[in-house]
């Protein structure tokens, strides 16, 4: 395993009487793809919101490359190299697809040199090729389909050149034909040195490429291990997977 990239210790967050995350702790290593699974309302997206500064934890520690980032505002965390996509794509509807990718490039990332306009254009063009939207680069974002918006949101999160990428249900809204190339892209990103956390409900697809999985239920981490270990974990089977999922082949 590579060096520890992200260390989460005892993360708690409540909304009134509801505990959204309860003492969540885990480690993510460099160049690792970690899946985060669990039933709806388990606290997965809340966890992403805490990691990226969209929510403030009540208590707990988030260390990114050894530096505490908990409680910082989202743009500061993004400038450290932590980027995310959203469960429902959040983009800039009246911009062109290409311009939407320029925005993250305009922010000043710590330790990165400023690019010229030509370099920014070339970088974004390359991203559009990666994500398969190069033919739509001059289209308005609001004219894209749900699946295309999802892909563009991922491209937008990549355009800030992160080292740690958090993808929230990247396959939702995508057809089978789009999932395969996206999976291939995720693997390529890992090979380029990125660490990825991926929330996903399409378990068969997720389990095919992740290195490790954590399972969250009622805001708590109930299991942490390889896809094979998770597939055999009695608690996970009882509380989330069910026998059917085992049969479809994640174990």
């Amino acid at each position: 395993m590579g060096e520890i990239f992200l260390e989460v210790k005892g993360l708690n967050k409540s909304f009134g009487g509801l505990r959204a995350t309860s003492a969540v702790s885990f480690l993510a290593h460099r160049e690792e793809i970690m899946g985060i699974i669990g039933p709806n309302g388990a606290g997965k997206t809340t966890l992403f919101n805490l990691l990226t500064g969209f929510l403030k934890a009540d208590s707990g520690v988030i260390l990114y490359k050894g530096q505490a980032i908990g409680g910082l505002r989202p743009h500061k965390i993004a400038r450290f190299g932590v980027s995310r996509s959203f469960q429902v794509a959040r983009l800039f509807p009246n911009m062109s697809v290409e311009q939407a990718l320029f925005v993250p490039q305009y922010s000043t990332r710590k330790g990165k040199n400023k690019k010229s306009v030509e370099d920014i254009k070339a970088y974004c063009e390359h991203l559009l090729v990666d994500i398969g939207l190069q033919k739509k680069k001059d289209h308005l974002v609001k004219s894209l389909t749900q699946g295309e918006l999802k892909l563009l949101d991922i491209a937008r999160s990549l355009a800030s050149e992160p080292d740690l990428l958090l993808l929230d249900e990247p396959f939702s809204g995508l057809g089978h034909r789009d999932i395969q190339p996206l999976t291939a892209l995720i693997l390529r990103l890992r090979d380029r040195g990125l660490t990825l956390l991926v929330i996903e409900h399409k378990l068969r697809e997720l389990m095919s490429f992740v290195d490790r999985v954590i399972v969250i239920n009622f805001g708590q981490v109930i299991a942490d291990g390889s896809p094979q270990e998770i597939g055999k974990n009695k608690t996970v089977i009882d509380s989330y997977l069910g026998e059917e999922e085992i049969e479809i082949g994640i174990a």
């Binding site: 743009h75 983009l91 800039f92 925005v103």
Partner: protein, 310 residues
Amino acid sequence: MLRNIPKIGLVFFGAFALLPFFVDSPYILGVITMASLYAVWAMSWDIFSGYTGEINFGYAFFIGTAAFVGAIFGTRLGLTPWLSIAIGALTAMLLAFILGILTLRLRGPYFTIITMAINIAFSELALVLWKWTGGEEGIAGIEPLTDGPASDYYVTLIFSFVVFVVLVILSRSKHGKILIAIRENEDAAEASGINTIIYRVLMFGLSAFIAGIGGGLHIHIQMHASHDLLSLSLSTMILIMAIFGGMGTIIGPMFGAYCLSILSELLRNLAEYRMLIYTGILVLTIFYAPNGIFLRIKTLFSEILSKIKG
């Protein structure tokens, strides 16, 4: 950089620059002088509200504050017009920074309501502090800016042109794109590494500074700081001019301000119905030209041209 300036805007200002060679009526020059100030206010309102999507419903607060601060410094301390204009505008900018830091974290209608409330509160405060502000009478005896209507005309026209060029360049730069991104989706902009609050506070300050210079020019041209410069109806009028012209375009609010200011003078006999007429125009704009009259006319011209070409 200047290649980015819309040609129609250059033609517009060029035509106004030539006007005094053909028209020497002080009344007409006075109308266009005031229209230039309204254009400045509509454009500077637009660079904040049109681009970030946060509607400032109390813009006259900045205009009036700068005007009265400038008037007090000018009349009581005997400062030169340009110095008192600068002090007034810097005061407006400072207040915008303080107000922005305190309120621009709020989302939705709260910011709009607060700007409106502050406008009303300061308008009332100016009446309470009548010993300083002259109450409803305002402050008279302010030193003129230039030696006559023609010079005032050119000062305001040049200022309006400079504001137009600067704001168009700013809006088309990467900073303009970032402002649009903030308006379109603040979460996505933050997640992209953009400090959305700093951008909004800076634009709020810039918008207030330009408004303040306009307020200062106004009192030196009128030689009187009127309490109306702090009124909510002035805020509303500027907002209507910007929406009528086309928010988020700079050229639209400039165009809208010149059109409605001149229309306002043409309908002078119906002065008491002015806000009613403006409101009617606003409703019609929202229904028939939601992106503003400027874009509507531009589109119409393009369609006519393409039909002629065949």
